[in-house]
Amino acid sequence: MSKFPKASLLAACLLAMSAGSVHAEAASSPGPLKLGRIATEAEIAAWDHDIRPDGKGLPDGRGTVADGEALFTDNCAACHGDFGEGVGRWPVLAGGEGTLDRERPEKTIGSYWPYLSTVYDYVNRAMPFGNARSLGPDDVYALTAYLLYLNDIVTDEEFELSRENFADIRMPNVDNFVPDDREREKHYVADTEPCMKDCKPGPVAITMRARVLDVTPDGGGEEGPAAGNVD
């Protein structure tokens, strides 16, 4: 009994030593500090799945609106609703056109997202919620096609989305994003010493109170206004 563990321990040690030396010789970085090792092509392929608006990163594959509808019903509708209308506080995926300048804007894929590549990329990397990376390229093309259909961006149930026609799809809100120009806002541009004395005429009056809504945990109900949802 006592021999066997020793022999196996020795074998394990030898294995570890040889693996260690191979690793050190073959893989150490040729960079300035010689730390890390070269990534293999298979390793890069396993993780390099990001998609850009210009289509860089899209895999081969294709899927139709009809295929996507079946997949959506099975994998997505429990949270997002059969028509992307959202269930509970889960994100609404369709609708909302023309609401972005209103009191309660509805930011959906169709009304807000500037690029279709974001849909493919996000479904592929993070969906379905709780079972990420479980869909193949054809599934993701089909789901993306169905989301276009739910948002009236394509209207034909037989429409098939593929790497070949992906770049032809233009999202309705693409032109409505502007660069960060916060520093040019009036209150920053003013660049004056802030007022220290008698900055407002007369005593101030309360114009709004948190108590009116009373949505603080322990202070009121669980239900709160939809505004400010961080997700």
């Binding site: 970085s29 960079g31 300035p32 730390l35 890390g36 090792r37 990534a39 390793e43 390099d48 990001d50 850009r52 608006p53 509970g88 506080r89 972005l100 300048d101 804007p105 930011k107 807000y112 690029y115 974001t118 990329d121 990397r125 993070a126 919620f129 709780g130 990420a132 409505n176 502007v178 660069p179 960060d180 120009d181 916060r182 806002e185 009036k186 209150h187 920053y188 802030p194 007022c195 220290m196 008698d198 101030v204 309360i206 114009t207 709004m208 109170r209 948190a210 108590r211 009373d214 949505v215 603080t216 945990p217 202070g219 669980e222 239900e223 709160g224 505004a227 400010g228 961080v230 997700d231």
Partner: protein
């Protein structure tokens, strides 16, 4: 006795919660009738003064006193659909100084906390580099290390207040910010080990969690002051903060500080992924939206007194304490107003004044028991002054969600209770 009688009535119900236990409460009530004979907490021998306490190994990794059990992160259930993709908030009203304890740094997850054994973790650098590389955590720890104190603020911090006062407590209005000392390696050093190609202008950072969080970062920023960190406040990162490795993007919105960092890809264009298109873009009143609004602006808040930290001592000497910070660098000055912004006095900043870190300010005064409207207003080293909420709404409307750095008002009532309000 006169002073006792003139004390405003205390907000007993809310104060009870802060005393942390029946024993403390009972002892507090016993003080007044026993004054003639002396405080029994002094005149009588207490259990902790007579009987032996726990030995040195009872708490091998220390935890706060059981009397501090209410100092915890809290979430707001109605904000999100599921706690696996949600946020909780740092209890700013119970903290002091500029460093946040690791166990109280607010959490924001998109696919829950990834539990990764450090030996199983890999960080890949690839794309427009001479040598695509894989690092283990042990590899990373062989690079030159740096220690830096930075604040981390979610772009949505105070985002629930765009349309007006909504939540009673700076934990909820401002608690998506924390500040720790990070230990790690410069991102620049890792990218140089891989050898940057001149065509590279952008970096994609990706997490290993179930959301595989990604953000695009301009290479200039990556090469400037970003870190790949494994330590916070001297210990390993907490799992909920990205253990074993996270990205540190000083002064920029927290969503970019990718946790459980597993991949860095160098490219020549931004990726426009979910977090930088459908989220973390700021919708303006006219329906257009700003994108790539990375930097956090000059901001401050009075943490105590505040709605969850009422004044229990009645009139007399009072310490106003608060935090200020800016993605532009250090805080040059903080002013405090007691009358809703009519008149201001410059507060005292105490402690280290480090760039892109929290700053602690104090303002001591004698409260006469009358109602006050407390505000703080910060100015940073570039001369940017914290705007009012009205200024922000005039420029952006109320649909932005992110980057609300407006001046906060706490209404202090004669009984010592406070409420989140807005004033004319």
């Amino acid at each position: 006795m006169t002073e006792q009688m003139n004390k405003p009535s205390r907000p007993q119900a809310s104060r009870r919660a802060f005393l942390g236990g029946a024993a403390a409460l009972g002892a507090g009530l016993a003080v007044r009738p026993a004054l003639a004979a002396g405080d029994p907490l002094i005149t009588e021998v207490q259990d902790w003064n007579r009987y032996l306490g726990d030995g040195v190994d009872a708490r091998p990794y220390g935890v706060p006193s059981r009397f501090e059990a209410d100092v915890v992160r809290r979430d707001v259930p109605w904000l999100t659909a599921d706690t696996k993709s949600s946020v909780n908030f740092t209890p700013l009203h119970r903290l002091d100084g500029i460093i946040t304890p690791n166990g109280l740094c607010f959490e924001r997850h998109h696919g829950g906390i990834a539990e990764i054994a450090p030996a199983d973790h890999r960080l890949m650098v690839h794309g427009l580099v001479e040598r695509p590389l894989v690092f283990t955590l042990d590899d990373l720890k062989r690079f030159p290390r740096e220690n830096r104190v930075y604040f981390l603020e979610c772009a949505a911090n105070s985002g629930m207040e765009w349309r007006g006062a909504q939540l009673n407590g700076c934990q909820f209005t401002h608690g998506m910010v924390h500040c720790v000392m990070y230990t790690g390696v410069r991102l620049r050093t890792l990218l140089e080990e891989a050898g940057l190609k001149t065509s590279g202008t952008w970096l994609l950072a990706e997490g290993a969690d179930a959301s595989a969080m990604t953000r695009s970062i301009p290479l200039d920023k990556a090469l400037d002051d970003c870190l790949v960190a494994w330590g916070m406040n001297g210990e390993a990162l907490r799992p909920e903060q990205g253990y074993p490795v996270r990205l540190v993007v000083p002064g920029w919105e927290g969503n970019m500080w990718v946790k459980w960092l597993r991949r860095l890809e160098v490219g020549d264009a931004p990726w426009e992924h979910r977090e930088e298109t459908s989220k973390y873009t700021d919708l303006l009143a006219n329906g257009k939206a700003r994108k790539f609004t990375w930097q956090m602006e000059v901001k401050s808040v009075i943490t105590s007194p505040s709605p969850q930290a009422p004044i229990a001592h009645g009139r007399g000497r009072t310490v106003v304490s608060g935090l200020a910070w800016s993605g532009n660098g250090t805080i040059r000055r903080v002013d405090v107003s007691l009358d809703g912004g009519r008149n201001w006095q410059t507060a005292r900043i105490d402690g280290p004044s480090l760039p892109k870190a929290l700053h602690r300010f104090y303002h001591e005064f004698d409260w006469d028991g009358s109602e006050l409207f407390l505000q703080s207003r910060a100015m940073d080293e570039k001369g940017f002054v914290q705007p009012t909420k009205e200024d922000l709404r005039a420029a952006r409307g109320t649909n932005s969600i992110y980057h609300n750095n407006g001046i906060q008002t706490w209404y202090l009532k004669p009984d010592g209770a406070l409420e989140n309000v807005e004033v004319s």
